[in-house]
Symmetry: C2
Subunit: 270 residues, 2 copies
């Protein structure tokens, strides 16, 4: 088999230990190209940079690895990689991470790590995001490596279902029980803002919060991680709530609604 | 009926004409509270501000409207509104926009306007995002108003299906044919980066792109807008690709996979 070409991205920035660990695993599998933010971009979600220009420069951090840093968001990095590095000849795989901190449950939507992988999938590149339950700069990623290699080789062998990517999260610590395929738990952040006063007597606010899980299912990523498993959630970027289409078609829009054409969701009401 | 309390947000910034139009419609329906970015935040997706603090100040722009500006993202605005303005006593509705520019199809994922509405829905507030196919600062929003009022009153009367919000897009111009309930079209941006050279001879890049629609369905938002309809797409924030769970459970993870627990997606393989 020809060695696959693998794009590696992240949101913690190109010098983060997490991306170094991911590069090391990917070097065992294929030819690695890294395009990563020049600094931390955590919590950037699916942001793109449209109001200002981007810087994009080749760097030389690790032997044998083609690397670029970018002033923009994780999603910008994927777009720059596709357009400026691969020039339309797509890589065989896009991996993002390893994130310093979990991206399970609702965190998938705030995460720059996962949004980079989502962008890879939008570009029809098989894509995986990896995250570890440890925010520390010196987090130990060593126990993740064999799982990352196995999951990555399965994706390269089997191919991803259409318009789908993987969200892989690791508990902290070495005693992992195995891999569990999950759904995203129904949970959210109960946010709080810590108010402080600057030296000029003006208030400012730090976003903080507590993660609240409303989901008792044993088929969720939260349950899997709480119980020592590696969670693997298939993720999609069609955000349509298909089940709600018939409901909306039953609403009363004062004769403004047009229902003559039939659709893919069975709402043929003509 | 008690007048509803309505949170109005956007991503074009608190002084944008689009939010002024939306405030005018909402004042006909309820008590309006505005929390909006202090400047443009287009393309910010679901970004939140975690690496730096936020500024958050009361402003007085329009008579009879309680208004706050925030230095952060559209999603930050919703979080600040819930925590600092409503103090946990949620508003009856969250509306976002009117965006200067479409947020149909895949744009839902890049859009600050839609991400603010998604955040409202995560907070269990009935939420709607509105966008017009006109990027101009002096865009004419007048033809959108009667549709916005009708849709908003239906949401307040009927309530939203659980964990669902609405993505409403308007064509430019006054001759609208009506409202059409749609799904998100399968489309993407074919990006390009325009390279320029700064006065110091260093390159920089502007993100540009062409919207490519791969979807011939007449039940999509792209089709509806192309044919003069107001598109209404129900949107969800559970990103799980449920259909892919059985596929992944059939993969070979070198005995690392644990399949003993049954799940909500019928992958009981124990």
């Amino acid at each position: 088999m020809k060695k696959p070409t693998i794009l590696v991205v992240n949101d913690d920035g190109i010098t983060a230990p997490g991306i170094k660990s991911l590069i090391e695993v990917m070097q065992e599998i294929g030819n690695v190209v890294v395009v990563a933010p020049d600094g931390p971009q955590s919590g950037m979600g699916h942001a793109i940079t449209i109001g200002k220009p981007l810087r994009f420069d080749k760097v030389d951090l690790y032997p044998g690895v083609e690397m670029y840093k970018c002033s923009g968001t994780p999603v910008d990095c994927v777009k720059l990689a596709v357009n400026k590095v691969f020039k339309g000849k797509k890589p065989d795989l896009c991996v993002s991470g390893i994130n310093h901190g979990l991206n399970n449950s609702i965190n998938v939507i705030y995460s720059g790590t996962m949004s980079a992988a989502v962008e890879g999938a939008i570009e029809k590149i098989p894509s995986i995001g990896f995250s570890l339950d440890d925010f520390a700069q010196d987090a130990d990623f060593s126990h993740c490596k064999k799982f990352i290699k196995t999951i990555t080789l399965q994706v390269l062998t089997k191919g991803m279902p259409e318009s789908t990517l993987l969200n892989v999260n690791f508990p902290k610590g070495a005693n992992l029980k195995g891999i569990k395929i999950c759904r995203q738990a129904n949970a959210k952040w109960a946010e709080d803002f810590e108010e402080r006063t600057d030296p000029y007597k003006r208030p400012y606010y730090w976003l903080t919060g507590v993660f609240e899980n409303y989901d008792k299912g044993e088929d969720t990523d939260v349950w899997a991680l709480d119980n020592g498993f590696v969670s693997v959630v298939p993720v999609q970027f069609d955000l349509t709530a298909h089940h709600a289409i018939p409901v909306l078609n039953s609403w009363d829009f004062n004769d403004m609604a047009v229902k003559k054409t039939s659709g893919a969701d069975g709402q043929s009401l003509g």
